[in-house]
Amino acid sequence: MNDVVQFESVGLRYGMGPEVLQDVTFALDSGSFHFLVGASGAGKSSLLRLMYLAQRPTRGYISLFGRDVSTTPRDDLPALRRKIGVVFQEFRLLAHMSAFDNVALPLRVANVRESEIKRHVEELLVWVGLKDHMKARPSTLSGGQQQRVAIARAVIARPKLLLADEPTGNVDDHIAQRLMHLFDELNKLGTSIVIATHNEAMVRRSGRKVLKLAGGELRVLDNVADDDSDEFASVFAGDRGRILL
């Protein structure tokens, strides 16, 4: 079994609310690349949270790298998490640390040698265009700069699975394309990638596979264009149809 992520009849409900995710079943091969789309509030971030172990499902079965998540003892979770890189929708940079230290964090936690850390982190920060901001605290960076630090932190340890939540919401199309290129490179090295996004143009342009969330259900499409036209409109429709001008 070569599946990096496997969901079977997974359901998620917050507190007493409605089920945000219903019977979600899918599997991601190693080396796959998917966009995750759906209206605002459709459950994209929730699905990603399940994958990076920030949330336990209300029901169903989740396995990561062939391990049943629910039976994995607490002590083994860090090893699992080190194989997963995450770009959070709200960045989650550590405010008291420089851009460099933020990006270095996953390596430090894994006890990588300081000299090696320096080389890798600097190279990556230059690549995302933050050469002049390595020592800057997140609060002194612009929104787009922070987002790039967050992306660098997610990819620095060459994860087997990269989960990115709206990673290009604060940058312009040029930088977005460059970041997509970074993800492509990583993907070519074998990393499975899932990117949640509202950026319709980016999805269309890439021609990648799409995970579509609507009404709590997940459908896997080989391409946005595969969607039958009726439904297609709703891929990027407002909050479950409630918002119409």
């Binding site: 607490r74 998490r81 080190r82 640390m97 964090l105 430090r108 932190r153």
Partner: protein
Amino acid sequence: MKFRFAGPELPFARDDTTRFLPWLMAFMVFLAALSVAGFFVLGDAARAIDRGIENTVTIQLPAGDNVKADEDRIAGALTMLRAMPGVASAEALNREKIVQLLEPWLGAAARSTEIPLPWVIDVRVDRANAPKAEAIAALLQPYIPGVMVDDHGVWLQALLRAVRSSEWIAIIVVLLNGLAAAATVVFVTRAGMGLHRETIEVMHFVGAHDTYIARQFALRASLLGLKGSVIGVVLAAPALMLLVLLMGNLGFGLLPEIRLGVGTWISIAGLVPVAAAIALVTAHTTVLKSLGRMI
């Protein structure tokens, strides 16, 4: 890079909360040091009082008109006393000693030859079958009218009880301070975890073990505890010396002079590592327990 040994991830330096910990620690170690010193001083006092009780009986005889006759009567009294069962020894105090005893009461007049000083006999008794004060009085009364016998009993017993309960209070205060210190570390650690929740979550997500995080909290807490307890002990030392100075002359001859021995000081210094250890262990346990509840 600085402070690297503690891991730079948790920004404790900016917590106002942790600035408290050393001072609270200092305060509690200060109180504990005072209590420890009190415990030792009270122990000394109790031993001295205990030695005094029933071991010695003081007999006071009024001075007669004639010193020679008095001395004869005293010699007789000594013979009678020494023959008494339960009496180990009986000695008359010499003049100089009596003057010293009376001086605080009579001032310079004690040395005046115009005042006939009373005579005093110190009797050591066997603790096992010591004769009662009344028995001694009854024995001597016919022979020496006006004799007064004092076995210090009732009075010293009451004093001993008071000292012993004060000793317990001292022990309880030390223990309470230990508990309070631990509770403070729990509170401060919890507050710190609340404050740094975001950081802790991110550290989890990038694959940090619980112990990696707990270690940082524990090390920080023990450093702060160390700092605080050193401050506490350093402040307690002069305070104790001042107290000894102020209270040294309150023994009234009844209690031994108040002194702080080497043992006392060593015990007080011992509070420093104890406080640091309490902080270390408490913080570590608190963090691991709280983290266990996080995903």
